[in-house]
């Protein structure tokens, strides 16, 4: 690839070398023209992303089920082992159940073999297209995430804009799913889901804008590079360790939870009380595709959060750089997903009016204040050391005071909650 790659440690460049070696091998065997080489080169990247994040999705589901089980004081799925290979292995049978780790594959087979029911009155074409579109566009968002120092599928100037543009097509798919099912519950809950997605897209984008303001670029790779080094000599220079970055990260987390339909904002598909939302008329593999897209969306948004606030593939300290950058990214990703699962096991579901109120009356104004805060931060970037303390204090005050003020106003009349009938 590039010249900079040659000086990297072996582990850092191993996957890329493997890809180049494979392309060269096939070129030598089949005398591929230039264009086919390029296609092959990119195809390998795409297959790698599909394989890695497909498996990541599979193991996220099992991790979620096991972790939720533990949070609710039960065991979670632990029975699915390997199929009986004893015939093949000549009588020797592998007894261990592998902690139920093969459960997602059993689930996949179940979803694939289940009957695919399409309502008689449904708009057949749109009913089919909706899950396809939702998966395709949620996968497209992975194209601009920098997974490592040299691992970004497509490097472009307007990467952040691309990310949100690709994500906005899922709203269309939800509408198509709700409308084409020809079921009033589906349509109503598609509308509810759209109201939620539109409400939370605003704070999501507004929480990202301060980072663009500070770094002066929309390219995700440049944003990660800007987070290298240390501030004040001991803190990694990640944006989450600044007052505006911390506030932005929290706003981003809340909006990301809502955008990916995760608890406590899982109203679009609250199976225990609101039917299955816009997925009511879906079954079998189409349902599984929606499910998949939801997890892909969550993973992509977590990846974006890591890229923007948590230093991306950067190691926190220089001496930890012997671990390859892509492992840092994946490690942070796993932690983020675990955090989301923890939240799902802890918080209660919101009502639709509470949900939209939280967005419009709290997160959006707070994100706007945070934008002003970031502007102040970038204007006072090169002040002297004693003034730095004042700068930090001012920045913290600018965001914390409105937080308490607006939080008090938001919960006026609602909190503290009194339990009249429970002891």
């Amino acid at each position: 690839m590039s010249a900079a790659l040659g000086t990297e440690p072996f582990l850092e460049r191993a996957p890329l070398e493997l890809r180049d070696w494979f392309v060269q091998l096939l070129t030598r065997w089949f005398h591929l023209p230039e264009l086919l080489q390029w296609v092959l080169h990119n195809l390998i990247s795409i297959v790698a992303i599909l394989a890695v994040f497909g498996l990541f999705f599979a193991f996220t589901t099992i991790a979620e089920r096991k972790l939720l089980g533990r949070l609710q004081n039960r065991l979670g799925p632990n029975r699915t082992g390997l199929p009986k290979f004893s015939r093949l292995l000549g009588g020797w049978h592998f007894k261990h159940k592998l902690f139920g780790l093969t459960q997602p594959f059993a689930d996949a087979i179940k979803a694939l073999t289940k009957e695919d029911i399409v309502p008689a009155g449904a708009d057949k074409l749109l009913h089919f297209l909706a899950p396809v579109i939702v998966v395709a566009f949620s996968l497209m968002t992975f194209a601009v995430l920098p997974f490592g120092r040299h691992y970004i599928p497509v490097e472009m100037d307007a990467a952040l804009l691309y990310f949100f543009a690709a994500g906005s097509a899922t709203e269309l798919a939800i509408f198509m799913a709700g409308w084409s099912s020809r079921n009033k519950y589906s349509l109503l809950s598609a509308m509810r889901a759209l109201a939620q997605l539109i409400s939370y897209e605003l704070p999501l984008i507004l929480s990202v804008v301060p980072v663009v303001l500070i770094t002066g670029t929309l390219s995700t790779q440049q944003i990660v590079i800007a987070q290298g080094g240390l501030t004040l000599g001991f803190l990694p220079h990640w944006f989450v360790f600044t007052p505006w970055g911390f506030a932005g990260f929290i706003i981003f987390l809340v909006s990301a939870l809502a955008e990916s339909n995760r608890s406590p904002f899982d109203l679009p598909e609250a199976e225990s009380e609101l039917v299955a939302g816009h997925l009511t008329e879906y079954s079998g593999f189409k349902y599984a595709l929606f499910f998949m897209a939801e997890y892909f969306g969550l993973t992509a948004l977590s990846g974006l959060g890591i890229t923007i606030f948590l230093g991306g593939w950067q190691a926190p300290y220089g001496f930890l750089e012997f671990i390859p950058s892509y492992l840092w990214f994946m490690g942070k990703l796993v932690l983020m997903i675990m955090f989301f699962i923890w939240i799902r096991g802890t918080l209660l579901r919101l009502r639709i009016d509470q949900l939209t109120r939280l967005s419009w009356k709290f997160l959006v104004p707070l994100a706007l204040i945070n934008l002003v805060n970031a502007a102040f931060w970038s204007l006072t970037a090169d002040c002297s050391a004693p003034l730095q303390i004042a700068r930090w204090a001012a920045s913290i005050i600018v965001i914390v005071v409105p937080f308490f003020f607006m939080g008090r106003k938001l919960s006026a009349g609602f909190a503290p909650r009194t339990y009249r009938y429970a002891p």
Binding site: A158, L161, S168, M176, W179, L218
Partner: protein
Amino acid sequence: MTLLPLIIIMLLTLGSAAVAMMLRNLIHSALLLILSWAGLAAFYLWAGAEFVAFAQVLVYVGAVSMVVLFAVLLTRRSRADLEVPPPALKRIFLAVFPSSLIAGLLIGAVMGAFPRDNSGPVPELTVKDVGFLLMGPHTASLLTVGVLLTVALLGAIVIASPEKPEDKP
């Protein structure tokens, strides 16, 4: 070689727009209209205007599409209502006359805005340059558009807000 994608994009955009006009089902028409907007975004991408392309997708495919779809769903009472009757001669005239007027106006404005001789070097514009241009020499027009949109939003709220107090809980 570079013309082939353009032809595909053109066929996609114009074709979906044409089919959207022919269909009797309003929702299908709206979805095809969105496809043709996406085709426009692909055209911008082909022309090298990344920023405009993604903004087009974000604004039109993401937001305006929702307005269109919600408007269709909220103004029709039933599914049977979604089917539009075939066009009468008077309606065709009423549609073609104002739209050709607007098209003439727009084409005239676009042709007048560009210099006749565009044989000079193609400027290399990055997203950053576009940002600085918008915030520098074109601040006034940007602000005007912002104020216009805010006024439109306020108007929509005024129209939508209930006049009678019976809506209060």
